[in-house]
Symmetry: C2
Subunit: 117 residues, 2 copies
Amino acid sequence: METEHVFKAVADHHRRRLLDSLARADGQTLTELCSSMPMSRIGVMKHLDILEQAGLITTSRVGREKLHYLNPAPLQNVDSWLGGYRRLWNERMDRLEDLINRTQSSEQAEEQIDAEP
Amino acid sequence: METEHVFKAVADHHRRRLLDSLARADGQTLTELCSSMPMSRIGVMKHLDILEQAGLITTSRVGREKLHYLNPAPLQNVDSWLGGYRRLWNERMDRLEDLINRTQSSEQAEEQIDAEP
DNA sequence: TTGACATGTAACCCTTTAGTTACATATAAT
DNA sequence: ATTATATGTAACTAAAGGGTTACATGTCAA
């Protein structure tokens, strides 16, 4: 539930893969999720626990199997923190574009000079 | 440089605070950055090393002090991974709005019924 | 009711993380 | 030249992470 948990949860590529897998096919069982993971079932369980504690997945027991559902909402915390930086890298991009444009302009100017008889 | 390093670097609130601090005032020295951190100088140094290894900051030595500069570019990796989910939580939001609208509509309908003599 | 399947719990192991203290080095200022 | 300031390195510790094996439980199906 806390933002920090969301960041930590998402910091591991195995856990991101689990989320990605649920984004493609929601409501998978534990064993289904295991099938694409390079580790034991217990390992996957632990990762799922962390994701659940971060509020990124919810579960429901159906008979002998447990279904896992993606809840992307907490990712908005990450997104909003990132928001402040989106401006910054856009500004940098702008400055870079300016630089390129100015470089091209001066190259064109040089070409024109070269083209003179 | 690798995406995983960026996620790990950003997963710690102390390191996020350091980035936030540089976003406000770029080019701070180590001791300046330390002043707002609840830990020893060496602790801060280690966090800064991790941020630098992730490519999120660059440094330059000037005399006896080391200046730290923010480089937000690698955060785009996080942002683009997040991109796939932005769609999902918007859809959820839409469904929620629909639900609210439908609920309000039926409440209005009920009010109108109540208003009948 | 027995066997197969899906999940849960416990105990353990190794590595990494996050922090510390103590000491060393380089530069600025008096 | 000496002292104060800014940073660097080494060695250590406690706790958390990420994984394992072994065993237990609950549920479906024949």
